[in-house]
């Protein structure tokens, strides 16, 4: 006889987004349909066809960091990791993570890609390179060499190692780098680790900051970003007929996942249950999603099967909804394929309309917002929905949040290159 399945509950969560320095502030702003998108301040965007993004406020970040315990590890923290530290602080506090005695039973799974090389670094390095393979190493060394910290902020396992050190976590320690699916895949892998008995508690989530020149120009070059917009706030318009690209943003989302009995035994707050996880690959083209959304269909179905649920059990879908022509159409098709007749009855919305797309952090933030929505009976809206697209004809919760009781949410993430990951989050019902 197989042993009773170990259930995974959520005992804490935290986030940093363009709409707030914690979960509460973000959720509250999102439920009012506010946009966190504006003209970029981090670098001069003159001449670029897209000049907007969802930035986390520097002043607030620094203020918050001053309130955290001092650490010598600060020089190794990428900007994304600085967000993650703030988000984890919130989540760990809520879950009372510090009270747990056996630290080897607590692990970390984080979706993060490390910092991009700064344009100043590239330029500095190029001064010592002749273009034909020869480096002027002596010159480079005379100029002070290449800063040690810059290499380390690019290594994704430095982020997970730093989290382990800050919170004294001796369990499994993994970093995941699967682009837009990195966050939910980290949460999913963490869930597997708890279920299979490898540990009892996991800090899981994703963090990202690509609003720097190299990261941003990269996405300008692949022409994935919104270039036609009347105002920054109206640029991200998932499922709207006039959508024309995604808006890049930054942030972090952290969850404390815990085995149910472990959480009960120590009297931790049980905020919800992680019911299912599914992932898939499009295996189609590196630049395009599968036209029929085959990968998306497989991932959604796998997540529901993992949760032992069917389409009739899902009350709301937190869409990947990036605001690109391709994703929103493909996602709509895939939802129709999976949900059949029921597709038009299930509310689907994309908080990327307000938060933009923070890549590895997206799925983690969206999963937490979905959970908060369940506990408050609020479905967050898709803002900027003005021009219906006849091919995208589902209930997208347009423009205003909806007060409606719901118990189970499917949260979608479909990444660059074709890696997909879906989570099913549910109300904790004993």
């Amino acid at each position: 006889m197989p042993e009773e399945k170990r259930r995974v509950v959520i005992t804490g969560h935290g986030m940093v987004t363009p709409l707030g320095m914690d979960s509460e502030e973000t959720f509250s702003n999102a439920s009012e349909g506010k946009s966190g998108i504006d003209y970029l301040k981090a670098f001069d965007t003159t001449g670029l066809p897209c000049r907007i993004g969802g930035e986390v406020d520097d002043g607030k970040l620094e203020e918050f960091e001053r309130s955290l315990p001092k650490t010598k590890l600060k020089r190794y923290l990428s900007r994304g990791m600085r967000f993650m530290r703030v988000a984890t602080h919130e989540a760990a506090g809520q879950a009372r993570l510090g009270d747990i005695e056996d630290r080897s039973g607590i692990g970390v799974a984080l979706g993060s890609h490390g910092d991009n090389t700064a344009v100043q670094d590239i330029m500095a390095l190029h001064r010592f390179y002749d273009g034909e393979g020869h480096w002027d190493m002596q010159g480079l060394m005379r100029a002070g060499g290449y800063p040690y910290g810059d290499f380390f902020r690019r290594k994704s396992d430095v982020a997970t190692a730093v989290l382990s050190m800050l919170y004294d976590l001796g369990g499994p320690n993994v970093s995941i780098v699967s682009a837009c699916s990195a966050g939910p895949q980290a949460i999913g892998e963490a869930c597997y680790m708890i279920r299979s008995g490898r540990c009892d508690v996991m800090v899981a989530g994703g963090c990202e900051s690509t609003l720097n020149f190299v990261g941003f120009v990269g996405f300008v070059l692949i022409t994935a970003l919104a270039e036609r917009y009347a105002t920054p706030q109206s640029a991200s318009r998932p499922f709207d007929r006039k959508r024309n690209g995604f808006v890049m943003s930054e942030g972090a989302g952290a969850l404390i996942l815990e085995e149910l009995k472990h959480a009960k035994h120590r009297g931790a707050p049980i905020l919800g249950e992680l019911l299912g996880y599914g992932s898939s690959a499009d295996a189609y083209r590196i630049t395009d999603t599968h036209p029929k959304g085959l990968g998306a269909v497989l991932a959604m179905s796998a997540a529901m099967e993992d949760a032992s649920l069917g389409p009739e059990d899902i009350d709301y879908i937190s869409a990947h909804g990036t605001s690109t022509q391709q994703n929103d159409l493909t996602e709509t098709r895939a939802i129709k394929e999976v949900f059949g007749e029921r597709a038009k009855e299930v509310p689907v919305s994309s908080v990327k309309s307000m938060l933009g797309h923070p890549i590895a952090a997206a799925g983690a933030i969206e999963g937490i917002l979905a959970l908060m929505g369940i506990n408050r009976s609020v479905m967050l809206p898709t803002i900027n929905y003005e021009n219906p697209d006849p091919r995208c004809n589902l209930d997208y919760v347009p423009n205003e949040a909806r007060t409606q009781e719901h118990r189970r949410v499917l949260s979608n993430s479909f990444g660059f290159g074709g890696q997909n990951a879906c989570l099913v989050v549910g109300k904790y019902e004993g």
Partner: protein
Amino acid sequence: MNGWKSSAMGNVVVITGVGMVTSLGQSPEEIFKALLEGRTGIGPIEGFPTEGFTTKTAARIGDLDPKALGISRRDARIMDTHAYMLVKCAKDAFAHAGLDGESAPKDGIAFFAGMGCVDYRVEDLLPAIHASMSNDGSIDYGKFYEEGFREIYPLWPLGMLNNIAFCLATIALGVRGENTVFSPDADSGAQALSEAALSVAEGRAPQALAAGVSEKVSPLNIARASLSGILGKDTCRPFSSDRDGTILGEGCAVLALESGLSAKQRGATPLARITGHGEAFSIGDSVPDSKAIARAMQTALEGAGLRPSDIDVLIAHGDGTPAGDRSEAEAVNQVFAGADRLKVYSSKGALGHMLAASSVVDTALGIQMLRTGAVPPTLNADPIDGSINLNIVAGKAVKMDIRRVMVSCISHEGQCAALIVEAAG
């Protein structure tokens, strides 16, 4: 405990296919033969100048021809050595296991990988820099922002995403099952193997691929390792009293895993079983302390239901760093106290440190040991450090009865993992 229990897992997990590329060859048999003969893949770095670097050697693979791998010119522009290695090994493992035919639906095949950091190629960005030069030779930032950046190949950014090589491999094979990409050090390959094994054991996927891929040896990756203080001067000397650091290697291994039932139904030959996995993180130290390494090994043994004396060969991480080898030796002595016949081998004296690939390559070598009953010599181990107290296989290959092999790996940030493979029958 931070590992899984094979007795509670459900399906037996067997390995039915292996693809491998290292500096010593492009197939498991070729590589293992070269290792048995005591050949080294470490040599002077060619292709880029190394003046200024204290380390001027590495274990590099020869050129892989993208055309021969069926890769289009368009895709090749955003690929590099690491991506070619992954596609080649994934195809080889797939064919070896007979998964390339119709015997299993590809939509359900899972794929997990451990991959290194992806560094940008200077050559890709140079045209943009040249287009942004002022007359006095300095860089005009305004020019760069307005015009210069357009000189960069539009799909260049994709090549900078760590998961793109992986996605190209899923496309090459047509597999659509569950997946993820771990990064960047030795533990990430072990993690990929562990997740693939669990996926099969728990019945989520009937077949699963597990990959480990090294970084391409480049000026940036040498500089990164050098600044970490892990590189030796000219070669890697695992467990030797003369050891002074590791040497970077290029390589990749992909294993095809499936349930015993799936192998039987498809008529695939099991090469080995994978039965144990353990992992741990050592808190607060940059080099894992021996306790964390021991905890990973202990957990793997418990999960497989084995005693220390059941293990015939330990393929150690043995990266030739003074502190790393000492910690690992201490851990082995703690866990295997009294297991006098345990033979210890490290591949890094011949193949260098392949980071994310190393644990998967070592597992593939473990399979060769199970099948041939031979352990290659650990290159450059002489003179063996008298204080480590291990049975290092050195000097020449050893023939023996091998039923069970443990693979140990350690990351430079503190992650430790151990895996156990056993003879198939």
